[in-house]
């Protein structure tokens, strides 16, 4: 049978970076084809070429056996190609309906088409069991639902070749399951699906064939049935991956953080955090598990000083954190850092880095006050030295301190942020989604470092939607739902079903 997509000797370079080098492989029609590889291996670039977003420097692209020169996404769409991007491509202040309509409005006047489409969307949602209201605004929706909107768009446009770039990075287990259900339906309908993910289990669960990329080249394509996680991981990283990391026995020290009666009510009078009570002791990792959007982000923001709570006290080593008497949190995170609280923010692009600064300038973001010498002059010599050390220690690629950080791949940006926060030798470390969008090799090393910190006596609060990650790192697990802590368990008692129920809000106090 003719392959749906065939890449022939595709190469693409950005400045000094060769993102794709002589990439050739093909994707069978009606199959689900996985693409995996380390951060920066060139997966997104390759798919962007297929979708007409970038143009290859050289090489050929065959769609259904025909050579095509896809110059823009419009032409890709015309060829029946659809893509769900790593970062959602939605217009936030528009409704779901308008987003789906955008680009295929079917006429100059919208009114009539809007009515028709609304009905059509409701039908599609029913058929594929997608719970989306076409009239909701995107900005009011959780990431999971936004993901569904992206899928909805593709169904509506009846894309025959569907590219999904890390669609599950921000999804919960349940959401992933329902996405996969839809993908299987697609496959039954004869559609071709390309799935990029860093989660090998997903590759094994759903794909027919998988292509592994490394440093811009294809290192191999294998039938999923004939492989396993270990083999794939080794192909990807070029060495075996340690899945069970060693850790010292659980021996927590004194209480570092003590949260009592913490409440947060937002401007719309919605209660985001409800009467939270917990503590973290030195040398333990407490993980907060939960579906994203249930208060974890707000909790991290309060504990890092980025947001004021409405009521309650938080004590750090017995002393209350200085929330009292403030009108806003402007500048407060600096005080918190001085108290020894480090913070790896969930949304690294928004909060964690200044995109237009170089890696070096980002390597001390938040700690700039410490570096000022006489007259507040910055000591670039020391900064550069420290930065280079961090880059090599955390294996950031490329290890160029003067590169604009926006040009690093997501995983490498995350390494820079982690490196910076860990280097501040904190007493309490707040970590949000540390491995979102990060390849398994990097996950391994980041996990190892977090565990080493724990062993060195740092108190760590981990927020993660990945149950695997929670299990691998946590000593104690708190489950959050609807702004409440709905349950607590030790890692030895780990039970995915029970946690799932607690995350669903079925709590018993």
């Amino acid at each position: 049978m003719q392959p749906a997509v065939e890449f022939q000797h595709i190469s693409k370079r950005f400045g000094a970076v060769q993102a794709n080098r002589d990439v050739s492989f093909s994707i069978a029609e009606g199959s689900i084809h996985g693409v995996i590889g380390e951060n920066g291996a060139g997966k997104s670039t390759l798919m962007s070429i297929l979708y007409g977003y970038y143009r290859a420097d050289s090489g050929k692209l065959l769609i259904n056996g025909q050579q095509h020169d896809i110059r823009n996404s419009h032409e890709a769409i015309d060829l029946g190609i659809g893509m769900v991007h790593q970062h959602f491509m939605l217009v936030e202040n528009m409704t779901v309906l308008d987003n789906v309509m955008l680009g295929s409005e079917g006429g100059f006047r919208l009114q009539k088409n809007r009515k028709q489409l609304e009905q059509q969307l409701r039908d599609i949602c029913q058929r594929y069991s997608l719970d989306v209201d076409p009239l909701d605004k995107i900005e009011d929706l959780s990431v999971g639902v936004q993901q569904r909107v992206e899928i909805l768009k593709q169904i509506y446009r009846s894309a025959n070749i569907l590219i999904l770039d890390e669609p599950t990075a921000v999804l919960t287990v349940q959401e992933t399951a329902s996405l996969f259900a839809v993908l299987r339906l697609f496959k039954e309908q004869g559609k071709t699906i390309i799935l990029i993910t860093h989660k090998l289990q997903e590759i094994l669960d759903i794909t027919d064939e998988v292509t592994v990329m490394r440093a811009g080249t294809v290192v191999g394509s294998v039938q999923t049935a004939n492989t396993n996680k270990e083999q794939l991981a080794e192909l990807m990283v070029g060495r075996p991956i340690e899945t069970h990391l060693p850790r010292a026995p659980y021996a927590p020290g004194e209480t570092v953080l003590d949260v009592k009666g913490l409440n947060l009510i937002n401007a719309q009078q919605v209660s985001l955090l409800k009467d939270l009570n917990f503590n973290i002791r030195a040398g333990e990792i407490v993980a907060i598990a939960g579906v994203s959007g249930n208060g974890q982000s707000e909790l991290l923001e309060v504990l890092s000083g980025m947001h004021l709570p409405s009521s309650g006290t938080v004590s750090m080593q017995g002393k209350p954190l200085p929330f009292a008497g403030r009108k806003d949190a402007d500048g407060l995170p600096a005080t918190f850092r001085e108290l020894g609280i480090a913070h790896v923010p969930e949304d690294r692009l928004r909060d964690g880095v200044v995109k237009n600064f170089s890696v070096m300038m980002n390597s001390f973001l938040g700690y700039q006050k410490k570096l000022g010498k006489a007259f507040g002059l910055l000591d670039y010599k020391t900064i550069l030295k420290t930065c280079n050390e961090l880059l090599s220690k955390f294996d950031v690629r490329p290890a160029d301190p003067h590169l604009r950080i926006a040009l690093l791949s997501g995983g490498n940006q995350q390494k820079v942020v982690m490196a910076r926060e860990m280097a501040s030798s904190p007493k309490l470390m707040l970590v949000g989604q540390p491995t979102r969008g990060v390849d398994i090799g990097t996950i391994e090393s980041l996990h190892a470092r977090l565990l080493a910190m724990r062993d060195a006596g740092v108190a760590i609060l981990l927020v993660s939607v990945e149950l695997e990650e929670v299990r691998a790192l946590a000593d104690r697990i708190l489950v959050m739902s609807g702004g409440c802590i709905t349950g607590e368990l030790k890692v030895e008692e780990f039970d995915a079903t029970r946690i799932g129920l607690l995350m669903g809000g079925l709590h018993k106090h």
Binding site: G15, S304, G305, M306, A329, D330, G331, L332, P333, A334, T335, F336, R337, H343, P345, R350, D351, G352, V353, V354, K355, N356, F357, M361, L365, G366, Q368, K369, L371, G372, F375, G376, L377, L378, Y380
Partner: protein, 360 residues
């Protein structure tokens, strides 16, 4: 194809030069249409603004004002704020120094009087920028809009103050009285007699100093780092513990102070009285200077001199060539800003292709 592919000499010199030439080419076309020889005109212009020492003195005199307004706009831009209000801040700065001088020019010695007046200009400029800064920081009111409004308000207020209080009795001119000699800034022609009768004065040195301090403060200090972080990503700045509202308000006040200092050159260095509408658009030229100079000290210096030369040379040219009205140079200024400030990559593809061919 972008700038990143090009060597530094190309982006720093070749491209701006080509753009400048393009702008001048268009200008030459217009001068030709007006019935004059472009080459001859260029000769007159260059002679009047650059080669003739006195002309150069005037060029630098005008440039001095633009350096300050250019710095004023630049520092706000570093914090992500587009301060269109330098004109009004400069106007108020003039009031600040005038009040000091009117009160003390008879009593205080020069060495105390001049610094005090300079401080007055900075303080008034900063004060006039405070409210837009405060409203932006605390109320989210667009600084672009509020500063435009504050320009209008400043014009009205100054009109009222000058006409109602500052005009000496029986005088026609809408201006304050002339300050005592002790308040006149020392001119540089004392040291460099070649400059002739130009009003170029020590505030030029002050401007160079300001450029240096600006460069160090923005790129070499913690404060500058925080300022730039705030300008580039407010979320990250907040995360980094930087107080956004404090940074914004201080940046605006420094911006206003710099604009206020621009009045020192015009008022204490040249006219020696506060006249109606004395800034004469220098605040707006500051925007052009900041944008064209990419908020970089050297860029600001060079573009200030360019604009100073255009004003000085253009003025002489239109005196010699009645067919070329002074307004032609307003047009040319616009062209230069357009080509050098907004189309910096116009020739990047061509140069890049040229270099590639050479490599092969």
């Amino acid at each position: 194809m972008n700038q990143a592919d090009l060597p530094r000499w190309a982006t720093a010199f070749a491209l701006p030069l080509l753009n400048l030439l393009s702008a001048l080419l268009v200008a030459a076309g217009v001068i030709y249409l007006l019935g004059e020889s472009p080459l001859e005109s260029l000769g007159i212009l260059l002679n009047a603004a650059v080669f003739n020492p006195e002309g150069m003195g005037y060029t630098l005199f005008y440039a001095t004002t633009f350096i300050f307004t250019g710095l004023s706009v630049s520092i706000a831009m570093q914090a992500g704020l587009f301060n269109i209000g330098s004109e009004g801040q400069m106007y108020l700065g003039g009031l600040g120094l005038t009040l000091v001088l009117l009160a003390f020019d008879a009593s205080l010695p020069t060495w105390l009087l001049i610094p005090l007046a300079i401080a007055g200009s900075a303080i008034f400029g900063a004060a006039w920028a405070f409210l837009p800064g405060y409203l932006q920081a605390k109320r989210g009111s667009h600084v672009v809009v509020t500063t435009i409004m504050f320009n209008f308000i400043a014009a009205s207020l100054m009109n009222y103050i000058i006409v109602s209080f500052l005009i000496p009795a029986g005088e026609q001119n809408t201006a304050s009285r002339v300050f005592a000699d002790s308040a006149w800034l020392p001119k540089l022609n004392g040291i460099l007699p070649i400059l002739g009768e130009t009003p170029l004065n020590i505030s030029f040195i002050m401007a160079l100093l300001a450029l240096l301090i600006y460069g160090i403060a923005v790129w070499r200090t913690t404060w500058g780092y925080q300022l730039r972080a705030t300008g580039l990503n407010q979320h990250a700045a907040h995360y980094a513990g930087i107080s956004i509202s404090k940074t914004i308000i201080i940046a605006m006040m420094i911006s206003g102070a710099l604009a206020g200092l621009a009045s020192v050159n015009s008022v204490m260095g040249s006219t020696h009285y506060l006249g109606l509408n004395f800034p004469a658009g220098a605040g707006f030229i500051g925007i052009a200077v900041a944008l064209m100079g990419r908020q970089h000290p050297i860029g600001i210096l060079l573009s200030s001199i360019l604009f100073g030369a255009l004003i000085q040379g253009g003025f002489d040219l239109s005196l010699e060539k009645p067919n070329i009205p002074t307004e032609t140079f307003i047009f040319i200024q616009g062209l230069i800003i357009l080509f050098c400030g907004a189309m910096e990559n116009l020739y990047a593809p061509a140069i890049s292709a040229l270099l590639k061919r050479k490599e092969k």
